[in-house]
């Protein structure tokens, strides 16, 4: 079993949903990010999504775009992103790490070299926003061969006819984007999300994580009731910008919210498997 599979199996046994936290690699700078990353599991992150900064993140809202630009301005690159993962793995061999971003920086690094280096560094999965199933030959198939999960997004525009296409070659978990829009968009109604997750579950056994619009404990708990995990990104990344403005420690400011989210998610009891 991979780290992701083990983690979701453990969550099921524990009878609760997971918390997936997104931060951008190298935001606001490499050292602060490394420190934050190292403390995320203790604060309650069950799975870590690490954004690969890109100059033109056309599926992201202004907050995550700004995070990427902060990181790039402070020297972030694919090399430094992989170094963050390598260093993290020296002290944590259990928390799954998923790299999330766009294809061009991977393509520029070279697909084969990227997969080899990512695997060695301890990357467990990839979410690449601009690679739909129609482009599976580019990275998805080689990633699966290299032993890295390729995690796909399903969205409100993914109907029952398209769902099997999206699920094919997807492993680890499925990321259900609960609203049509960019990251940081308005929240979806948890009842509607529950229905969509139920529909997806008719087609697959892999866990379903739900993201977009989750900003606080209350919302995270509502999603935890209907999904296998809640994904939080924009709200965390905005804390970094806020901490910089208030001249407080960005890492601690993010961790504070992660603790709140984690407590909320853990407070929702589910039937243990």
């Amino acid at each position: 079993m991979s780290r992701i599979e083990k983690r979701f199996a453990a969550l099921k046994t524990a009878g609760r949903a997971g918390l997936v936290t997104f931060i951008t690699a190298g935001d606001p700078d490499h050292d602060t990010c490394a420190r934050l990353l190292a403390q995320l599991p203790a604060a309650g992150a069950d799975v870590i999504e690490l954004g690969m900064p890109f100059s033109d993140p056309m599926a992201d809202g202004p907050s995550i775009e700004a995070a990427g630009l902060r990181a790039l301005a402070n020297g972030a690159s694919m090399k430094t992103t992989l170094k963050l993962v390598r260093d993290f793995r020296k002290q944590d061999d259990n928390t799954p790490i998923v790299l999330m971003g766009y294809f061009n920086p991977i393509s520029a690094y070279g697909v084969d070299r990227f997969l080899a280096d990512a695997k060695t560094a301890g990357v467990d999965g990839l979410i690449v926003v601009d690679l739909p199933p129609e482009e599976d030959d580019e990275l998805c198939i080689p990633a699966v061969k290299a032993g890295i999960h390729f995690i796909r997004l399903a969205t409100p525009t993914t109907d029952a006819a398209r769902l099997p296409t999206v699920l094919q070659n997807t492993s680890g978990f499925l990321y259900y984007v609960s609203v049509a829009g960019t990251t940081g968009a308005a929240a979806a109604d948890p009842v509607a999300v529950g229905k969509s997750v139920a529909l997806i579950k008719q087609h697959t056994k892999i866990p379903v994580a739900v993201g977009f619009g989750i900003r606080d404990g209350q919302r995270a708990a509502a999603i935890a009731k209907v999904a296998d995990a809640a994904v939080v990104g924009t709200a965390l990344v905005e804390r970094i910008a806020e901490a910089q403005m208030r001249k407080i420690d960005p890492a601690e400011h993010v961790l504070e919210l992660v603790r709140e989210l984690s407590a909320a998610v853990r407070g929702v009891a589910k039937a243990a498997a």
Partner: protein, 403 residues
């Protein structure tokens, strides 16, 4: 390299021109893009769609545009016989409207009720705002803050036409950022919104359908040249940013092996500087805005900023079919600098009484170099794809003239 049977068979069913093109978009957009392809295929086979296109192209746009013998320019340069394909005479002043008519008719067929577009020079924005007004649909145009500043007349035009112009303040605040923002809008409003992409780039089927809608330029030019001279031209010249006017002129001639084809990228302050927009000359293949193509980027795959005096060419990528035509060698891609384009702009105004847009001034700059080296019986067509009214303030500034 072995010669292909045809240069006009692309793209394949996955939207590839060789290794270029494709559908690199977020999952939210994927069902819509597949739907668009389905509707386009149906429309192409529907005589009613063609009849409607023809009606609007003739009576609203003013097609066919003339193929004009530029006699004074020809005499001045003393070589090839130069013809201008005068798409600057179209309604709205550029070739962009050809494609907008096609796409808005598709939008209507698909039942979409809201139009968005990106624009650089503002020509595509004006053309989109125009057709949106004509068809009574609300319209939002995304435009980089820097472009808004240098293309004020077009911004005002779009507003007069009833469009909302949204300033894009992210990144380099030019065309690529406007495209990012339009994609963000689209992904958010996918249920009712049609994105009219202005250049022959983006995810499949856009490069194909923009090319098809713009091919009217080359189809007319071919027929007009045969009527006037009794034979095909010897060469074609067009400027290229994303490449819609160029592919429109070139495509009907790709399989005529005796027709030499030249496309002119914007070299900005020079290819040896970092301030240019020559993605073929100085870029490497990568993935942006839905397609694989040549891109200006750093070694980490971050997109770098393009520069050109012409806002319409100021884009760090190029349409995927051009990337392919470059690699197979069918089209000769060259470049012209800001100052060469400015020279050509002035020369054309004085000699022909035609003020060209800064974009085709790049094409003309290459014509000025090439024509004198050719015999007088060499027939050359340059795509005069836009008029320069929108550029006069900018050109005045570049020439140090206070208005």
């Amino acid at each position: 390299m072995t010669a292909l049977n045809s240069y006009r068979s692309g793209p394949d069913e996955k939207g590839h021109f060789g290794k270029f093109g494709g559908r690199f978009v977020a999952e939210t957009l994927m069902p819509l893009i597949l739907d668009l392809e389905k509707h386009y295929t149906a429309a192409k086979a529907d005589p009613a769609f063609k009849a409607e296109m023809d009606y609007f192209l003739n009576d609203y746009v003013g097609r066919p545009s003339p193929l004009y013998y530029a006699e004074r320019m020809t005499d001045h340069l003393g070589g090839a016989k130069i013809y201008f394909k005068r798409d600057e005479l179209n309604h709205t002043g550029a070739h962009k409207i050809n494609n907008c008519i096609g796409q808005i008719l598709l939008a209507k067929r698909m039942g979409k009720t809201r139009i968005i577009a990106e624009t650089g020079a503002g020509q595509h924005g004006v053309a989109t705002a125009t057709v949106a007004a004509r068809f009574g649909l609300p319209c939002v145009i995304y435009m980089g803050e820097i472009d808004i500043e240098r293309q004020q007349p077009n911004v005002f035009r779009m507003k007069l036409l009833g469009a909302e112009v949204r300033a894009v303040k992210s990144g380099s605040r030019t065309l690529k950022d406007a495209m990012n923002e339009a994609l963000r809008d689209w992904v958010t409003n996918v249920h009712d919104t049609f994105y009219i992409i202005g250049t022959a780039a983006g995810p499949h089927p856009y490069p194909m359908l923009v090319r098809d809608f713009q091919s009217i330029i080359g189809l007319e030019a071919k027929e007009q040249m045969i009527r006037k001279e009794g034979r095909l031209p010897d060469s074609l010249v067009a400027c290229i940013g994303g490449g819609s006017n160029a592919i429109g002129l070139f495509h009907p001639f790709l399989d005529d092996p005796d027709v030499k084809i030249h496309a002119v990228e914007a070299a900005g302050e020079g290819l040896e500087t970092e301030k240019h927009a020559a993605s073929l000359a100085k870029g490497v293949p990568g993935v942006l805005h839905g397609n694989r193509t040549y891109l200006l980027q750093d070694e980490d795959g971050q997109i770098t900023e393009a520069h050109s005096i012409s806002a319409g060419l100021d884009y760090p990528g190029i349409g995927p079919e051009h990337a392919w035509l470059h690699d197979v060698g069918r089209v000769n891609y060259v470049s012209a600098t800001d100052s060469e384009a400015l020279e050509a702009f002035q020369l054309c105004s004085r000699l022909e009484g035609i003020i060209p847009a800064l974009e085709p001034s790049h094409a003309l700059a290459y014509v000025i170099k090439l024509a004198p080296t050719l015999p007088k019986d060499h027939l050359m067509i340059m795509n005069l794809c836009g008029r320069g009214d929108k550029d006069v303030f900018n050109v005045a500034r570049a020439l140090g003239v206070e208005l």
